[in-house]
Symmetry: C2
DNA sequence: TTATTATAGTTACAAATGAAACTTATTTCA
DNA sequence: TGAAATAAGTTTCATTTGTAACTATAATAA
């Protein structure tokens, strides 16, 4: 007879809570690396990353790739265009379709933020040994594959 | 010479992104288990969990325990009181301090939601073997300990 | 004592987010 | 054809969230 049979749910040991707690701290710390200094939101930063590695994609493609709602994508791109960091035209073949690219300013800012962000990830990964790293990779893949299917 | 030395940051393989992606899906699915049926938000649900296992605590204690901002705690409790799920009085020793408890209705709803939520966690944990479970536990502890210190 | 500081909780305002409706362009197919 | 359905992107409005300021009470210390 368990002592806490009427009390099975303890937040501190509940997997979704533990994950959420860790994730929120990491996301907050990451955002601090660029949000204030460059006046860029996490959504906007994700778009910058995506356009850096995938030039000439559309808003829909970007959103699909990083699993971001189309309204959020639209807003982020609008802001980035206003800030002069992203250049948007509409495709001549399909005039609904946007064609997005980083501007020179966008690339500059991207290359300023990138090392900060990678540095933070490295600081996390550095505390894990090779074995733990591959376990983490495996667990994330397994859980993610399960929840999405 | 790496092929993508100008392209080191790929969101899909970036640890914070992968964590955030997994966490968001899990949080969303969990919330679906109770939000629509019982008209309860994730914040409110966390308060219910906390008051179930820790009766008579104050708003500040609840917030500290589940690492929730005091404004969010205040709002969640306000809503829960309005819904008649939580009872709030102020301590006679220190009249700033609230003393919170689930009402009978609150306990009822808690015990309806709890198995749904535990069932979802179980469905996640079931796909991992014993070894993987202990790895996950270890990794979460290690990473969480690192980011909070 | 009483002036200062600290704490618990709430309120108010601004910014972020989400869902639905909308506009324009393209595709489908009767 | 051209009417209906689909797709890309934007706008609107309601809700949520975050920050700062505020109220009331209690603790500290001059």
């Amino acid at each position: 007879m368990s002592d806490n049979k009427n009390n099975r749910l303890v937040l501190e040991s509940f997997l979704p809570y533990r994950l959420s707690y860790l994730t929120n701290i990491i996301s907050r710390k990451l955002a601090q690396l660029y949000s204030k200094q460059f006046d860029i939101s996490p959504h906007e930063w994700r778009i910058l990353i995506t356009l850096n590695s995938h030039p000439n994609i559309s808003a829909a493609e970007a959103g699909e790739r990083i699993v971001m709602d189309k309204v959020a994508v639209s807003r982020a791109i609008k802001n980035l265009c206003t800030m002069g960091l992203v250049h948007k035209i509409f495709s001549t073949e399909d005039r609904r379709r946007s064609v997005l690219n980083l501007t020179e300013d966008g690339k500059d800012i991207y290359h300023k933020i990138e090392p900060l962000v990678i540095g933070y990830e490295d600081s996390l990964l550095d505390i894990l040994d090779k074995e733990e790293l591959s376990q983490l990779d495996h667990l994330l893949n397994k859980l993610t594959g399960h929840v999405t299917t």
